[in-house]
Amino acid sequence: MQEILQYTWGALVSFVVAFTVGITYMGLNRKITARVQNRIGPPWYQNFFDVLKLGSKETSIHHGVMQHMGPAFIMVTAVMSLLIIPILNDNRFFPNLNFHGDLVFLLYIMVFGPLGMALGAGQTGNPNSAIGVTRGLSQMVGFEIPWVMALVALMIQYKTTSIVDLMNLQAETGRWLMFTSPFAFLAAVLAMLGMFRYAPFDIVGAPQELASGPMSENGGKYLFVMMSAGSVFAFAKLTLYVDLFMGGANNLIILVVKTFILYLIPMLYGIVSPRYRTEQAIRYFWGWPSLFGLLAILQAVFL
């Protein structure tokens, strides 16, 4: 009983932290984009207003059950990965449900949300959604390959499929995996560009071209769920990268600093890039990132 309460509490706290940090990052993204474009831009807390407003909108759209479930799938994925990824090095304040083999599980669960959303978007019958979904799944085929290669390289090199083991290893040796398996890190970071779906890989929700793609029929509360799930998921992914490659974090401040530095990579890359076409995006991921992934595996096997 004590344990269950503790886990529930941990889940709640992690969610609130992830939500706040994630939404703030998105707001900072808008602010920084605006500054780069020589605008003043919205305040950094703008996205809190947006989320609150979306949550308070009334919704009377009905296309079928799957449409209502789509955003829920994304939320479930986000929360589930958040609960598995260790947030801090010592688990006292954020107890979570990691287990041996969670790295493999994560690989699966991270594509679960987009697939659920694809079903939901399909049911709205909006042609833009259908195009968005095909683009999204193609892009996923693109960036999943270097991403999986990077993780497999880590698994081979350190003979473990547990995130906590990898973190402990870094804590013991004092060397970040970023330096001991640089190719895996490169492949994973390049794959991250696709995961965040910022330009040039925003081919899924291209607002001017596809009218925001899969979510074009989803307004109000659906968008609210998607936006919160997106920010929680962004935080979870960034934390995963920090855990795997940058030695985890001992407290929240270090975690925020590290994740923000990582977050700057897709953000700044996106601000100065136009949009790729679908096949260009896939070619990109199957080029250098996959090569780095391959090198990482070779390094893991032979060195």
């Binding site: 474009q37 020589n38 605008r39 979510m215």
Partner: protein, 182 residues
């Protein structure tokens, strides 16, 4: 219940209106020449995103329908469908003299004159065409109305649906649409 009690509802309203007012997602439906003033309003010179004004991609996600100028009867039909697909709370801004009294199209055979006979308009911005400053002033006015809870065009539209429908059907001869779209 606490939630249904009048005072707590008031507090909730104030918070919600505050959020709504600072987050206006506009659907700029470029119907007339006035639409050319939207890009300068959104980009670096005037930067409407400062006020939380931001473009929305589809009617489902939008809060504000920006009708930029004259409406031909053909466009009016689409505008009505777009308006009815938007989710509550939603607002309409009539942009330019053409939406107020027909502007320089007042004797045209195929444009409508007073927009608020067909759709409930919350804020009019006059001028032909209004400069971005005027557009920003219009947004500020809308924000004021929202905070005061007076931007209730959508409610008016629902209450007087027959009147609006009759007006709309008068000018749209080939009415082949569902009776309502929300």
């Amino acid at each position: 219940m606490m939630i249904n009690d009048k005072n707590s509802q008031k507090i909730v309203d104030i918070i919600q209106n505050y959020a709504r007012k600072h987050s206006l997602w506009i659907l700029a439906y470029g119907t007339g020449c006035g639409a050319i003033e939207i890009p300068p309003t959104m980009t670096s010179r005037y930067d409407a995103e400062r006020l939380g004004v931001r473009g929305a991609a589809t009617p489902r996600q939008a809060d504000v329908l920006l009708i930029t100028g004259y409406l031909t009867t053909k466009t009016l039909k689409r505008v009505i469908r777009v308006y009815e697909q938007m989710q509550d709370p939603k607002y309409v801004i009539g942009f330019g003299s053409c939406t107020i009294n027909g502007g320089m199209y007042w004797d045209s055979y195929n444009t409508i004159k007073a927009l608020d006979r067909y759709l409930p308009v919350d804020v009019f911005i006059n001028g032909c065409m209004p400069r971005p400053e005027a557009v920003l002033a219009g947004f500020a006015k809308l924000q004021e109305l929202i905070q005061a809870g007076k931007a209730d065009g959508a409610r008016k539209y629902k209450e007087n649906l027959e009147w609006y429908r009759a007006n709309q059907k008068k000018v749209i001869p080939n009415w082949r649409m569902p009776e309502y779209n929300w």
